[in-house]
Symmetry: C2
Subunit: 230 residues, 2 copies
């Protein structure tokens, strides 16, 4: 096993590079410079080179990185060259949307079980799966070797769902519920905040509004001076 | 108007600090060191100090940053001290989940309109709103001063939805559809990939699996050597 310390911040940027690289392949681009990848991923190019050097990837001077090979290297590093079995807990609108989300399967995350406690939902088909009873969690997690639990319950139900997943042996939890969860140190926990990207948009929108009002102000001044000096 | 150049990467980290700071307030913590904030946000502490210096925030030696005041400064910087009107286009499972997502309102993003082209959905209530006809987009965007368009359509329908939003004057687009969209330079576009956090989990899960197999191997070796040297 390779034992290198990749900084956490680098790990968090690898999926961004991967997304940018997939976009490049969709446009038929076969090589990319560190500047090109930096632009596409919203990171500076020195950081791109540094991050990729942890993967043993240095590109070729004057050519850049081979897109397909870099995709392979990042996928290998992130553990995406194998499939991961996931289970979704809480089959409301968000749980259904996640169950049908094509992007998971494309990245190697196979949703293999859907759980709810509501008797009206149990047995209902969502995509290719039937919703199963949350009471059967332990057995199904073991049978299907579920590695990652995705929590899409209400905020109130999330900690109980999380505790049951952990007790069943699930070591990675992705939390979509708008609440802070507690897990033992041996369990990895990530939280998705769907408003993060909106906040980044807000920053740029705010600047546009400010710039527009400055431009508006200038126009007013210009026409005012024109009217006083005909 | 303040004219400072905040790096794009810093802008992208501000929402992560904000999320971490809200978590700290929920636990009743009133001050935080750059190291504490770095840990909570998954960034290194030198970067935290540098990022926050762009906001004119330097903390107090031996005390750290005042959590409430730092929340205010980041919100002001991100333009979150005002409300932004958003419209969601595409009211499938994801659109419904987003329409009901409490996290948007808490961060100042007010969903003021829901659009679909499906006559069966138009008029249906989702949360506090009724779904409206996508054909009325231009009028409603102007009447309600929609600033941000959230696309939750299928991949196939996303570019057309985006073009109509841009034509109606919307300058910021958040894309949840699993496809690459084209917008004019004057429009800000961000894409949400719901599998990003799963990929980060995968990295850590993979390492755990590898470590477990090493430990398993060591145990085997240890018991083997024990059995050969009784």
């Amino acid at each position: 096993m390779r034992e290198r310390a990749i900084p956490e911040a680098t790990v968090a940027r690898l999926p961004l590079y991967l997304r940018a690289l997939y976009d490049l392949t969709e446009r038929g681009q076969q090589t990319v410079s560190s500047e090109g990848l930096a632009d596409a991923a919203g990171v500076n190019s020195a950081k791109v080179r540094k991050d990729l050097s942890y993967l043993g990837s240095y590109g070729t001077r004057g050519v850049g990185y081979d897109v397909e090979y870099l995709i392979y290297q990042i996928k290998r590093e992130l553990g995406l060259t194998q499939d991961w079995n996931c289970a979704i807990v809480g089959i409301g609108n968000l749980g259904r949307a996640l169950a049908n989300y094509k992007g998971f399967g494309e990245r190697g995350f196979r949703v293999g079980a859907l759980f709810d406690i509501d008797p009206e939902k149990i047995g209902e088909r969502v995509g290719e799966l039937a919703v199963e009873d949350f009471d059967d969690l332990e057995r199904i997690v073991k049978e299907r070797q579920v590695m990652i639990g995705i929590i899409a319950t209400t905020a109130q139900a999330a900690q109980a769902a999380c505790d049951r997943l952990v007790a069943a042996g699930v070591k990675s939890i992705l939390n979509f519920a708008p609440t802070v969860l507690q897990v033992p140190d041996s369990v990895s926990l990530r939280k998705v905040d769907l408003s993060i990207e909106l906040q980044i948009l807000s920053f740029y929108e705010q600047r546009k509004v400010a710039l527009d009002s400055i431009r508006g102000g200038k126009r007013l001044t210009a026409s005012a001076s024109r009217s006083t000096r005909p």
